[in-house]
């Protein structure tokens, strides 16, 4: 029986990856405090003093890329984590141009493109993001 993968199935694959071993993750973290902004980042983790944002997607890599690019304004590093079946149509150059990292998910998580330090981080946004990493947002694998 082939089961359809859902986005929530990808969370434990990312959080238990070797790359992020021992990290604490926060999920659905709001990006800004102004009314019209409903954007939330799928996963945030802190690593060596850096804020790492990860957007998870089953298939629409382009949408995930744009979200991950926008995350560069609030984080130090930004990744897209994509389900392996949709890698074929992906344009790697887009990621390499902007410094957005790419993780392939296939039972495990493998970093295909390393993220580069963001040149677009806005200090106030980063600070706000950190204030939103609250206990109730800690990701617990169910």
């Amino acid at each position: 029986m082939v089961q359809e993968i859902k986005e929530e199935d990808l969370y434990p694959v990312v959080t238990s990856a070797e790359r992020f071993k021992g990290n604490l993750f926060f999920h659905q973290v709001p990006v800004a405090d102004w009314t019209e902004c409903t954007k939330r980042i799928d996963l945030i983790t802190l690593e060596d003093g850096k804020v790492v944002a990860i957007e998870l997607k089953v298939s629409d890599w382009r949408d995930a890329f744009h979200q991950a690019f926008r995350n560069l304004f609030a984080s130090d590093l930004s990744f897209v984590a994509l389900w392996h079946r949709h890698f074929r149509s992906l344009d790697r150059r887009m990621f390499e141009k902007c410094g957005v990292g790419l993780i392939e998910l296939n039972g495990t998580a493998r970093v295909m493109i390393q993220a580069r330090n963001s040149q677009l981080t806005i200090p106030e946004r980063r600070e706000y993001l950190l204030t939103q990493c609250l206990p109730e947002r800690v990701y617990q694998k169910s």
């Binding site: 800004a32 405090d33 102004w34 009314t35 019209e36 902004c37 890329f65 744009h66 690019f69 926008r70 304004f73 887009m94 141009k97 902007c98 040149q119 677009l120 806005i122 106030e124 946004r125």
Partner: protein, 400 residues
């Protein structure tokens, strides 16, 4: 160019009558009333529940034209064998009289004059004579009539007859401004534009007011923007001022190609769709003076980062950054300050255009575009700056 005229829609006048009188008096600027007659010709929108709707029906004498329960005027009410009916003539008379006399003949105006007089201020009735009178106007388009050529449009005939009748009955000191409300798709066809202008050349009105529905200058493709330039320049060859009823920066930059003025509200209203339902939560839109577009205020800092800029140092932006919280009051304050910032920037842009510096503004598009493309190579924020490329292309040709 300068801020020269207040435009008050008749629905706003009817809803805020006393406030409108005060505003006209206090601003001491010429004003015009948009009679909004187009709404009575559109089946697709029903504004009859609005309180002002029935007031206008009464003022325009539409209750004598329309049967009970009928809210839409048809061509058949206004034309018979291509000629104006009495109903059309009466409509023109009622609509233009409304603009001339609605305020001056009202008890509210008498009360206002009395109160001002008591306080030692004179109220000049001349201030309440509209700068232009607008004859009844209706939407013309391939989507409301089964036509392949604008020359076949019966609504065009109606509009022309209304304009001609308004000119025929005007007093010497009065000026008639025809509103040309046309389908956007017309702009794709240069020969259709020429036909339209040819028709309006027979009206002998004193000015033209263009309205292309939902014409968003920063979104339209190059071909449509080029069509708009053609419409403006062809119409202006008739030797009468041409205004854009709902326009922004792109229109202002066409001052050398025939645009005499542009209307918009403070920080919104640079496009309008007559078919859209109104009523929306007011959002804080901030005018980015380098990108020449309004951006959600919360995103401003991202655009500044993309283009290596600091915050605007005007007095309003300094106050804007000091507004905290997300209460209704705070949002209202932000909207007000963003609007003031916009008006200040727009004034400065108009000064540059008046000083013959439109070309310098157009040249600045390239610099902003380069920075955006450098920092956003995949166009994630492209919706907010790609219009600069299109504008640069159209205006570089139009202004040489």
């Amino acid at each position: 160019m300068e801020f020269s005229t207040l435009v008050i829609s008749s629905n706003v006048l009817e809803t805020f009558f006393s406030t409108s009188i005060k505003t006209i008096n206090n601003r001491a600027k010429p004003y015009i009333i948009d009679p909004l007659t187009y709404i009575y010709g559109l089946e697709s929108i029903d504004l009859s529940p609005k309180r002002w709707y029935s007031k206008l029906v009464s003022h325009y004498g539409l209750d004598l034209i329309l049967s009970p329960g009928v809210t839409t005027i048809t061509v058949g009410h206004l034309l018979m064998a291509g000629q104006a009916t009495n109903s059309l003539r009466n409509l023109v008379e009622n609509v233009t009289n409304y603009q001339k006399r609605r305020i001056l003949d009202s008890s509210e105006f008498d009360d206002f004059t009395d109160i001002e007089g008591f306080q030692g201020h004179d109220v000049s009735p001349d201030l309440f004579v509209p700068r232009f009178l607008i004859p009844p106007y209706f939407y013309m388009g391939y989507d409301v009539e089964d036509i392949s050529d604008i020359g076949q449009s019966q609504w065009l005939r109606v509009n022309i007859e209304c304009a001609k009748h308004a000119v025929a009955r005007k007093e010497t000191s009065e000026k008639i401004c025809a509103v040309i409300l046309i389908s956007k798709s017309l702009l794709f066809f240069p020969e259709q534009i020429e036909k339209l202008v040819n028709e309006y050349s027979t009206t002998e009105v004193d000015a033209f007011m263009l309205w292309v529905p939902d014409f968003r200058e920063y979104r339209e493709p190059e071909q449509l923007l080029g069509g708009f330039v053609k419409l403006v320049s062809t119409l202006s060859k008739l030797g009468k001022p041409v205004f854009n009823f709902y326009g922004g920066m792109f229109s202002l930059l066409l001052s050398k190609r025939g645009i005499a003025g542009v209307c918009h509200s403070p920080c919104y209203g640079e496009s309008k769709d007559p078919f859209a339902e109104r009523g929306m939560l007011a959002t804080v839109r901030y005018y980015d003076q380098d990108m020449k577009i309004k951006v959600p205020y919360g995103k401003l800092v991202e655009f500044l980062k993309l283009t290596n800029r600091d915050y605007c140092d005007c007095q309003y932006c300094a106050s804007l950054r000091g507004v905290v919280g997300d209460t209704t009051d705070a949002r209202g304050k932000r909207i007000e300050l963003a609007a003031k910032h916009f008006l200040m920037q727009r004034s400065s842009e108009i000064l540059s255009i008046n000083a013959d510096d439109a070309q310098a503004i157009v040249s600045s598009f390239k610099q902003t575009l380069e920075l955006c493309e450098q920092n956003d190579p995949n166009g994630t924020y492209g919706d907010y700056y790609k219009h600069l490329k299109v504008w640069n292309s159209v205006l570089s040709k139009a202004l040489t």
